[in-house]
Symmetry: C2
Subunit: 227 residues, 2 copies
DNA sequence: CTATCGATTAATCATTTGATTAAAATCACT
DNA sequence: AGTGATTTTAATCAAATGATTAATCGATAG
């Protein structure tokens, strides 16, 4: 018999289970993290349920036992990825940095850290963009509300700075695109850059990315600076 | 009976057929361009041979009749994409721009034009990166030799400018990554940028990209300029 | 101890999907 | 029109793949 809840009676998201044998992750947890690893890097179509079962070291049937279907498991994993990816924004809102410069520093710093810790995350975003299925902005999801709020405040800050003549007149899309591109692109093209732009080790690459936490805000400012 | 050549007796790559009924593309051509459209945007695994047949408006069996297998068709299409993507480099070499500034202007200009004309091309690169199967640099392929030559000359130019104190001391990977990111990323994130960074029409987006042909070289120079 | 219930397994099912086949249609050439 | 080659079609095959089932295992309560 199949469990009605996606998580069965497990509640491993909180790890508050009655007996909580923590040393060994629960089966459902193993499946989910295997799925996250594979789906994130290669997308939905390229991964077979058997790949996930093998990666998790479990019997194939358990995948359906705990998560009903490949699609449901995928949706779950992607939802978590979205929250991981946009989560930094919440921190930003909560920290309430007011000026453009503060926002800039904060976003760059947090996203580079996030990408260093989750190197496959960019591919997940690309899979989203590629599939053309951007999640609709859910007015009720506090996460999306925060994103919207941050974006509006960010855009307003740019506009105000331009009106005051502090920065060059530049379309906000350029600023947003440049920020995102400078932050994310090196992680997307990581293998290409490491192999082809001089032979760079993993460690060197990561050091360069850390260096970018300081450089990118300077670059963005210099790009925007009125001549 | 199956044809031994991938193209059978057709030689539609050159369109120099004896009777050249040009008004209607040959069946093989229809299949190939349907495959290119779909594979480029969504990758190998997400596309079924039946999708290609439908898109091309042909019987499924013709795909195998002309191209033997899904994989062979994919490889063919991707090879053409690689040449399309790297082709601008050959022009660059042939034009022999010597200085870093000339190279910079040339590359930015050509790649933005290329991406404006082939909006799905970035996804093909991403699929390559995602699959982890970067094509080995074929020492015999003149294209790869040109790329290598351009890269080396580009890197050398950066080094020399730094030694002369003309530009800030900066790791070449930053320069390469910034260039590529600023050029390519807006096309990758196009749907996201258009929908979310203010509501931008297709026409506006393209005008902004054309504007970037002028701006990106300035940005790169300002980034590299010694303070 | 054993009855019970959730967890796990091996086997199997049903559908999808890449590929093939044999016949029919179309074309080139006389 | 006739003939042979090429192209196209509908039907089908075989393998891959998502999902299910029935049996078994293992822990826990009574």
């Amino acid at each position: 018999m199949q469990p009605s809840s996606l998580y069965k009676q497990h509640d491993f998201t909180l790890g508050k289970g009655k007996k909580a044998t923590v040393q060994d992750p629960s089966t459902a947890e193993k499946i989910k993290s295997a799925a996250k690893k594979l789906f994130t890097k290669k997308g939905y179509a390229a991964i077979r349920t058997r790949d996930i079962a093998e990666e998790a070291g479990i019997n194939l049937a358990l995948l359906n036992y705990y998560f009903r279907s490949k699609k449901k498991l995928f949706d779950l994993v992607m939802k978590e990825n979205i929250h991981l990816f946009l989560g930094a924004m919440i921190e930003n809102i909560n920290n309430n940095p007011r000026t453009f410069d503060e926002q800039l520093d904060f976003i760059v710093d947090h996203y580079i850290d996030l990408l260093l810790q989750n190197p496959d995350l960019p591919f997940f975003v690309l899979n989203l963009l590629q599939s053309g299925k951007l999640p609709a902005e859910d007015k009720d999801d506090p996460l999306f509300r925060n994103i919207q709020q941050l974006r509006n405040s960010f855009l307003k800050n740019i506009q105000q700075a331009m009106e005051k003549g502090k920065v060059k007149n530049i379309h906000p899309l350029h600023v947003i695109a440049n920020m995102m591109g400078l932050i994310i692109f090196p992680f997307i093209a990581r293998s290409l850059l490491m192999a082809r732009a001089g032979h760079i080790s993993r460690k060197e690459f990561e050091e360069l990315m850390i260096e970018r936490k300081k450089l990118i805000p300077e670059w963005i400012r210099s790009i925007m600076r009125a001549p």
